[in-house]
Amino acid sequence: MDTLSQLIAGFAVALTPYNLMWCFVGVTVGTAIGVLPGLGPALTIALLLPLTYKVDATAAFILFAGIYYGAMYGGSTTSILLNTPGESATIVTAMEGNKMARRGRAGAALATAAIGSFVAGTIGTIGLTFLAEPVVNFALRFGPAEYFSLMIVAFVTVSAVLGTSAVRGITALAIGIFLGLIGIDLQTGQPRFTFGVTELLDGLNVIVVAVGLFAVGEALHLAAQKKRPDGGEVIEVKDSVWMSREDWSRSWKPWLRGSLIGFPIGAMPAGGAEVPTFLSYFVEKRLAKKPEEFGHGAIEGVAGPEAANNASAAGVLVPMLALGLPTSATAAIMLSAFQSYGINPGPLLLQQQSALVWGLIASLYIGNIMLLVLNLPLIALWVKMLRIPEPLLYGGILVFATIGTYGISQSWIDLLLLYLMGGMGFLMRRFDFPTAPVIIGMILGPLAEQEFRRAMTISEGNLMIFVQKPLSLALLLIAVLALVGPKVWGMVRRG
């Protein structure tokens, strides 16, 4: 059977009323947990694992996939409205998305995020359907040396969020890298900077740090301002709630570029969802017609990263379904669910369980449509939330962030961390330091470090490994080009 007829057979499985119901439940639950900071798709699916004793495999996986895709949609909503990222993959969305919301353009930001997610999710799913084999073979060529070089490329993206002062930006980046070092070192098993606190052994949760820096810091900053209008300021919703003609024309290219960046990186075993969102943001800022709008709410900065994050979600499923490789926490939990059914996921999964796998893939197409239908009408409702006067809104955000953080591990250490980061976020705003580089450093720093040390172990300490491997060399050249290319080009043009 060729791919197309198998896909059609998959739709026959996914379109039964019973499985449609599970898909709907999944995307709804997924959207809800995406909105909550802290509770991610991996934990939610893990909590639902006992369900595998009750329902059949196809229904369970359709549910899990729905949760996974739904969480990617939901995560952007709070990022945009409240500057409170629900998932680490939507941290970038908060940067421009929340600025748009503050300018009264929340509707457009939410719409470009939802439609971009739909476009990218569909492109990613098409990629999963037809390109799984070549993509996974390409992704496996990435070893430690290649990943390290990819992280170098990603570090270049920091230049897009440095703000006015490079010194301040790089200071923020260094703080982030330091925060990322806390915890047990994977290569030696030794604790670093934990000061005997067992809760720090697994490192800091990037969501807690992001919510503290962005949301709590902002709330404190607002509270500290002298000017206190009676009843508080209300963000006016300007223009229409919907996307304007200009928004559409500025969004469609970032959607496509974001998908193209997100899907292959998501398919890489160590790719993840965060790196493609950084890269997409950088690319959009460089290509934008009005780069000066970045930092003040540029729609491209929402459209691109949102697309990248959803396409990477589809990418993560490629090694999982093609090779049985769990490359993310969510994929690992889904694979352990396969085992509950006595199915051993591996390279033969597609052949042995083709009805299940194709049913799952078909349900991803359906789930994407459901998510769009579910999310677009909600936009008008979400936007109304911004009519709440600012002091009350930010008070609510503090409550929301606190509950969400406590929900991650029921540990007061995380709450302490949230408010410490909030204090730091306040000081950074007060003294004009950008906060985004902290998060970028915290995510990329440990990744780059681990890959560097893995590469050094394999090469017995020979640094040449980074230039001897062609893919690694190519990535390093891209990094150099992205950093100095525009300046050189400018000098050449000026003659």
Partner: protein
């Protein structure tokens, strides 16, 4: 979150103990009607699955009806253990899942609490490890790999789970058995079997070590070649020789077990051991073992306690050799 988890479980019929473990202590003579299962790891991992399988088996065979789950993830159990000891002391219906990984984690993190503070209840399952090479590797047997390792230890890179974990411990034991310094092992730590598999499939490393279950499907599909298993003897249906057969005198099981709270009375310990004994002999547990591909290596109460003491000594020694403990 605890409440939300309860709602989820109630909603899907997985159940929740209404008693919340506050049972009168004089009830120890009669059989246990409820258990609090404490998992010192995140939901979804091996320990959580062990806990869920215990729940499923006890429920199916009608041995225990009510369950309450609690998770305290982090650092191979080093975060959960002090919490279990602190909150459950003297409670006869508390059961903590743990295993070999915790032994190493506590040593490496210089934990102030010890596993020997707990009341041993039962060793339940074990998973032997497997040494693999990529399909395209020139090494066809364990002897080939051992020869390459002896000739130039640094040139042979080994992928596996986190440093100090069971995979790393086996690498150290093998190096010692092959007459090399365990510190010379070029060990490349990954956060789990999945990323380590990717490194092997992409020919990034020479060899890999992981639990049999993690690699078995890739082995069956011919993408990875199994050179040796760490079991004591050949396993049914698995055509892979043991390390011992091939001249590497090492045996290692990644075992999983359950413990009672510290400070419980001998009768309470006996009640827990009895529950496990009945479960292990029942059909539901045997079915779970088969489904999850676990080897049943049941060892009750005091015998398990003795085994635990020996394992702690053995693992401390190998971690010292690897330079991870002092």
């Amino acid at each position: 979150m605890q409440t939300r988890r309860h709602v989820l479980q109630c909603g899907f019929g997985a159940g929740v103990a209404a008693t919340l473990g506050l049972r009168p202590q004089h009830a120890e003579a009669q059989a246990l009607s409820s258990l609090q299962i404490f998992v010192p790891a995140a939901p979804g991992g091996g320990w959580d699955q062990t806990g869920r399988s215990i729940e499923h088996a006890l429920r199916t065979d009608a041995i225990v009806k009510d369950f309450k789950f609690e998770h305290a993830p982090g650092a191979g159990g080093a975060v959960g253990l002090p919490k279990f000891i602190g909150t459950k002391k003297g409670q006869g219906d508390a059961l903590m899942v743990g295993g070999m990984v915790m032994v190493g984690a506590l040593i490496a993190n210089k934990s102030p609490v010890k596993m020997t503070d707990l009341t041993p209840v039962a060793r339940l399952t074990g998973e032997f490890l497997v040494v693999v090479v990529p399909e395209a590797s020139p090494h066809k047997t364990m002897q080939d790999l051992a020869a390459a390792f002896k000739a130039a230890p640094g040139k042979v890179s080994w992928a596996g789970g986190s440093a100090g974990g069971s995979d790393h411990i086996l690498a150290g034991m093998m190096a010692r058995a092959m007459g090399a310094d365990p510190k010379a092992v070029s060990y490349v730590a990954y956060s789990g079997g999945g990323p380590a598999q990717a490194a092997l499939l992409g020919n990034q490393v020479t060899a890999g070590i992981s639990g049999w279950g993690e690699f078995s499907e890739q082995i069956k599909a011919g993408k990875l070649r199994a050179l040796a298993i760490s079991a004591d003897k050949r396993q049914d249906g698995i055509d892979v020789p043991t390390l011992k057969e091939q001249g590497v005198d090492v045996e290692l099981f990644n075992w999983r077990s359950v413990f009672g709270a510290p400070g419980i009375k001998p009768e309470q310990q006996k009640a827990l051991v009895d529950v496990m004994e009945r479960m292990v002999k029942g059909p539901a547990w045997q079915a779970e073992l088969k489904k999850k591909d676990w080897t049943g290596i049941y060892l009750p109460g005091a015998e398990f306690g003795k085994f635990l003491g020996e394992e702690i000594t053995r693992i401390t020694g190998i971690l010292k050799d690897l330079g991870l403990a002092t």
